[in-house]
Amino acid sequence: MEQSKKKRKNKILSSYLWSMPSLVLICLIVIFPIFYTGYISLTNMNVYHWFDYDLIGFSNYKEALLVFDSGFIPALLLTILWTVVNMVLQLVIAYLLASLLNTKGLKGRNFYRTLLIFPWAMPGYVSILLWKTGMFNSQFGLLNQWLEKLGLAPVKWLASDGLAFACCTVVNLWLALPFMITIIDGALQSVDQSFYESALLDGAGWMERTVYITIPSIRPIIAPSVVITIFTTFKQFDVIYLLTQQAGAKTGAHIHTILTYAYENAFITNNYGYSSAVSMVIFVILILFSYVINIKPKEEA
């Protein structure tokens, strides 16, 4: 009895020891900043007390909750809409393209795949800049030059809310699809071909095969990557901010997600205590959100 208890203890100990380096790194780089932000949110760290800040309790949170005023609810709804639209489009398009890539007898598969993956190989800010100035610019952008050649009137792509939202979505898809295509493409390869053969014998059409065989088979495989992508989409800041709200280059569209909203209403104050409090509140909202829609990767017991 004593022996087996000791053995069990040893087993736990060695498990933790082996995963220690990885967990220590995660604690340092991922968890520490969260606690630090929590701590700063309780202080008066701002321009006037940059290096000599004191703990001041929860008064930053009192202020932070005021940010969640009339403008915050629309921003939250827009963020949810943004996440849903982007995830649906991403999954559908990636699935369709991956299916095409997996067509039997298709030559040049690797060629297409490398080209489709290109956007991944560039730093994000370069891509966004290219889209903004190269494509969407209303005077010189390629899109309007093409419209002009077709004899159509130029469009102010980023100036109105709806169109700007669509443009941001396009850019976000462009940035995110390579990852999704790679995942779904691989998942499709792992589907047992014998399922299809028997389904074909039963006379099942493409739609039926997709719904009853392909999707159930790839769902568990792509789930964790999808969860991670949902979070990245939810907290996407660069695409929307750089395309429509960058200082000195605002375009007139008012699409605010909770992060860009928080940025303009908290972070620009240089009051770290206050903006940390806002960040912590957003963090809590995100966690609640993930519980509400129950996105957590299932894990075998």
Partner: protein, 406 residues
């Protein structure tokens, strides 16, 4: 057992990584004391000219210029970390309030006697460099926006003397992809000229917000009819390309446009700012003073080298060399006795235009105003919202954010 040893090894490896990289000692060697690192965000030509001048005037100090693209953010983070912070930085005067409040700057007067500064510099540059009664910047040159025109389209005799003349010109010439006049109409830096011309302000010297003042509202209401004859995009790439490709006949832009346009072969003219008919005042843009700020740590530990570099920077030759490459006006008064300066039309136009300019506020609150004012301008100019309502909302939000800075 093996496992445990292996785990210890891997932890040790990690710890080694964490701690192994030498922590710098506190005492500075002679060599370190004689090295001055200056951060800047300037174009290469300006940096090269500055370095060449410093190597000549203070040959015994090892000056290193480092280009930092996000200088202002980086300074907030590393400002009091001697290992990472620079000794000085070369930037516009409008950030000194932020860093002075943070406590990372040393007043220049602790290194160079105040009288010496007052005797040497153009008065308004020192005013701009003063925050809460202390001079935090050693000015090098000052810059402001200029009215520029392309002689190919706008002959000298059609250069508008008043804004109504400008409007008439714009109404006549803005068609078929050509614009009579363009500017970055929805950024605070560019609109400020119009607001000041009406006697309004975004933020005044006392740190008061003036977005809903009647003068500001009048200015923006008037300005709006000009914006309607300009392209929808207000950012610099569009505006500058339009002008440089000859699709816009005139613009208000910074000195950097001058050399770029001339290199491209444009017959460029520079004129005084048009006078606003209603007030009789010219469009009066912001003025920025570019200069050097000294960090506290450097002033305390490398005083000798810092003073040497500052004295070197006070030589008229430095101001002249930098004014030449940047198209700005030197801050040292003595420069204007030199032929090479007085004969340079860009530099002299800059000096002249600067008579009517207003130094950018240098208090920390201004950081907020850039964003809030730009938001307001976009609402008015691009989203077609009511001027008065937008101004009032912006005033409210600015005051709110300023309160939250504390």
């Amino acid at each position: 057992m093996k496992k445990i040893i292996a785990s210890f090894l891997s932890i040790a490896m990690l710890m080694g990584l964490l701690c192994g990289c030498g922590a710098g000692g506190q005492g500075l060697t002679e060599e370190e004391k004689n090295t001055i690192v200056i951060w800047h965000d300037k174009e290469e030509a300006v940096a090269e000219a500055l370095l060449a001048q410093l190597q000549e005037s203070v040959p015994d100090v090892d000056v290193q210029l480092e280009h930092k693209s996000n200088l202002t953010e980086a300074l907030k983070m590393v400002g009091n970390d001697p290992k990472a912070a620079p000794d000085m930085y070369f930037f516009a005067h409008d950030k000194i309030g932020v860093y002075a409040e943070m406590g990372i700057l040393t007043p220049i007067t602790e290194l160079i006697p105040k009288e010496e500064l007052e005797n040497a510099y153009v008065g308004m540059t020192l005013d701009a460099a003063t925050y809460k009664g202390e001079i935090y910047q050693l000015p090098i040159y000052f810059e402001t926006l200029l009215f520029m025109y392309n002689r190919l389209y706008m002959p000298d005799e059609r250069v508008p003397a008043t804004t109504e003349e400008l409007y008439a010109y714009m109404s006549e010439k803005t068609r078929g992809g050509h614009y009579g006049f363009v500017e970055q109409h929805s950024t605070a830096y560019y609109s400020a000229g119009w607001i000041h011309g009406f006697g309004g302000y975004i933020m005044n010297g006392e740190g008061e917000v003036g977005l809903e003042n009647p003068e500001t509202i009048a200015a923006l209401t008037y300005h709006k009819k000009f914006v309607e004859l300009m392209p929808g995009e207000s950012e610099y790439a569009t505006v500058n390309t339009l002008f440089q490709e000859g699709k816009a006949h005139a613009t208000i832009g910074g000195p950097w446009m001058v050399s770029a346009s001339r290199t491209a072969g444009m017959d460029l003219g520079i004129a005084p700012m048009p006078v606003i008919d209603e007030t009789g005042l010219p469009i009066s843009p912001y003025m920025g003073v570019q200069g050097v700020q000294v960090l506290k740590y450097a002033a305390e530990n490398k005083r000798e080298a810092v003073v040497k570099v500052l004295s070197g920077l006070m030589q008229p030759e430095v101001g002249i060399a930098l004014a030449k490459v940047s198209g700005c006006a030197p801050a040292v008064e003595a420069c204007y006795e030199r032929e090479e300066v007085t004969s340079d039309d860009v530099v002299m136009a800059m000096r002249q235009t600067a008579e009517n300019t207003i130094p950018m506020p240098n208090c920390p609150e201004m950081d907020i105003m850039w964003t809030v004012a730009a938001d307001m301008l976009v609402n008015i100019n691009m989203s077609g919202q009511d001027v008065k309502a937008s101004c009032e909302a912006a005033q409210q939000s600015a005051e709110d954010l300023i309160r939250k800075m504390q």
